[in-house]
Amino acid sequence: MAQVASITLMQNDDARPIIDAIMADNPGVRVLNMPGAVKLDCDGKITVNRASVEERLGRPWDPQEIQLVLVSMAGNLDEDDDHFTLSWRH
């Protein structure tokens, strides 16, 4: 069975550039829309890139800001100044 790496975000204006960045940067991403939240799934690995979010947001963005809109996740987390990544790869 494929191991699904996943991020669930709130459905709101603050989250939208992050959702868009994930959709653009993770080929094959699957989307589950729920009232108030959206679950984004990828086989193996899913990543949020700072640069990609900043491009959409038009201002500097710290990956830790994702905590304001993050609902849930699955995978091992790796976070630094440039990205926020969940994966099952080692």
């Binding site: 191991q3 108030g36 939240a37 849930s72």
Partner: protein, 505 residues
């Protein structure tokens, strides 16, 4: 922009957590940390602890303050706009009653538990993460009380939540779950709450439930729910880090950790049966069935997780297959219990209408029409004939999970599952092999269980009759309990609705 002058995230985190540790000299370290060895867990090197969130205290306060500002703006707006009148249906308020009496007090228990582990773990990184979580859990309780206090102005069954949590029969299920975790050692607590509850099971509690609140027009609850859940991702990460850390530190830790994973998975599965019932029966507008949520959040997400942890030798929790099979039954069996005992519960029950029955048939094609729909139709018929069914007998409770013995045999939904064992000349009863195993491993702990039905029979709950006991529960009889139809809640809801229709002309 991460300028070059600014410290990188990794460095900032290093500075926060390293150097908080020192070898004590006035007292030996084993006296300073007296609880971290009796469980048998072996730690060779606490400095190997990694917290991937690397959240420093200044960022923590900044983010938490921002979350609070957003939440309280929504609460104010909800109250100013009389949001309680625009929820999907008056029945919805019963979800909040169950949440505040059954779940919010566990946020407080988690706060206490993480404060304890945040003091008693020897590694600074783990201590900082546990202390942040302790603060988060206190915030969750506070925001839930603030949010639901608005509903308390209009709906019954909410006012006495702390006392009810300590006394009312079904609330001993979540209470005893956390009492068990908090009276364990710090490592078992971390596996119980940090890993099994926060990582494996919390999604099942919060995500579909809060999405349900959004769908049912309860913006205040969805906001506290998602605000709490945004902390939860950090908690999930702590949970997965603790289990990986323990398994990496020493091979002797594996059997101990596996035993805790087995125990807390099963206990969590039993506890979440209440959520299953809320999702399938109590949300007027439904988001997904319990079975669907279980498939996404346990079968798929849990499957990926245990595949990953397999490299340490950790296996899927014992009885995971039985829990997955029970996802077809558990919400129906729980609702049947509360329907029969509605006179003793501080929220309202009802029989599903035809549309709701059809939804259940569609979501549970293997079980609902065969085992549950006929029973609901019979009870609805009895209601119409003025013979509404109440169960006057007090149920036997499982010694471990404290749930009434209403669950069925694996593979046979027509036979109630009973297990028992002897300990020091007494017989103890269980709802399942999972609960029996847990008892048999720690009998001295579980013989002390405060079982509500036993306590009633022993005369410790206000008296010998049902009215005596309900008085001791501080239950406002005729308002807090019984069916939704005919309740003051329903009357109020219908008045609001009629007013809206009148204004609309």
């Amino acid at each position: 922009m991460s300028g070059t002058k600014k410290l990188a995230l990794r460095q900032r985190y290093e500075y926060l957590t390293r150097g908080l540790d020192w070898e004590t000299t006035y007292q030996p370290m084993d006296k300073v940390f007296p609880y971290d060895s009796f469980e048998g867990i072996k730690i060779k090197d606490w400095s190997a602890w990694e917290d991937p969130f690397r959240l420093t205290m200044d960022s923590y306060w900044k983010f938490q303050a921002e979350k609070e500002r957003k939440l309280y703006a929504v609460l104010d707006s909800f109250a100013q706009n009389n949001g309680q009148t625009t929820i999907s249906d008056g029945r919805y308020a019963n979800v909040l009653k169950l949440f505040l009496t059954g779940i919010s007090p566990e946020e407080y228990q988690a706060h206490r538990g993480f404060a304890f582990t945040g003091r008693h773990l020897r590694g600074a990184g783990a201590r900082v993460a546990a202390q942040m979580q302790s603060l988060d859990e206190l915030r969750h309780l506070q925001t839930q009380v603030h949010t639901i206090s608005h509903y308390n102005k209009y709906f019954d069954g909410i006012a006495e939540w702390p006392l009810m949590h300590d006394r009312v029969w079904y609330l001993s299920v979540p209470k005893s779950f956390f009492d068990d975790a908090r009276s364990a050692g710090p490592f078992e607590f971390m596996i119980a709450i940090g890993f099994a509850f926060e990582y494996l099971l919390t999604n099942l509690l919060f995500v579909p439930f809060m999405s349900g609140a959004a769908y049912n027009g309860d913006m205040s609850t969805v906001t506290f729910g998602f605000s709490a859940q945004s902390d939860e991702s950090r908690h999930m990460t702590l949970g997965i880090e603790i289990i990986k850390f323990l398994l990496e530190q020493h091979p002797d830790n594996l059997p101990i950790v596996q035993k805790w994973v087995d125990k807390w998975f099963w206990r969590g599965h039993r506890l979440l049966g209440i959520v299953a019932m809320m999702m399938d029966y109590m949300l007027p507008k439904k988001v997904m069935s319990w079975k669907e949520a279980w498939d996404i959040y346990f079968v798929e997400a849990g499957g990926a997780l245990f595949q990953d942890l397999g490299r340490y030798g950790l296996k899927m929790p014992k009885y995971a297959d039985i829990a997955t099979a029970e996802a077809e039954h558990i919400s129906h069996q729980n609702w049947a219990v509360f329907y029969q005992y509605t006179h003793a519960a501080a929220f309202h029950t009802w029989m599903p209408d035809n549309e709701h029955l059809d939804w259940l048939s569609e979501k549970y094609p293997n079980t609902f029409d065969k085992y549950y729909r006929p029973r609901w139709e019979m009870w609805a018929k009895m209601e119409k004939e003025g013979k509404r069914f109440y169960n006057p007998a007090l149920p036997q409770l499982c010694q471990t999970c404290q749930i009434p013995m209403a669950y069925t045999e694996p593979g046979d939904p027509t036979t109630i599952c009973f297990r028992s064992t002897q300990y020091k000349g007494d017989t103890y009863h269980f709802c399942s092999d999972g609960c029996k195993d847990i008892f048999c491993d720690e009998p001295e702990k579980f013989v002390q269980a405060w079982l509500p039905v036993h306590q009633i029979f022993q005369g410790n709950c206000g008296g010998a009759t049902v009215p005596d006991v309900l008085k001791w529960y501080h239950m406002n009889v005729g308002a807090d309990n019984m069916d939704y139809v005919g309740s003051p809640d329903e009357k109020l809801w219908n008045e609001w609705h009629a007013e809206k229709l009148r204004q609309a002309g």
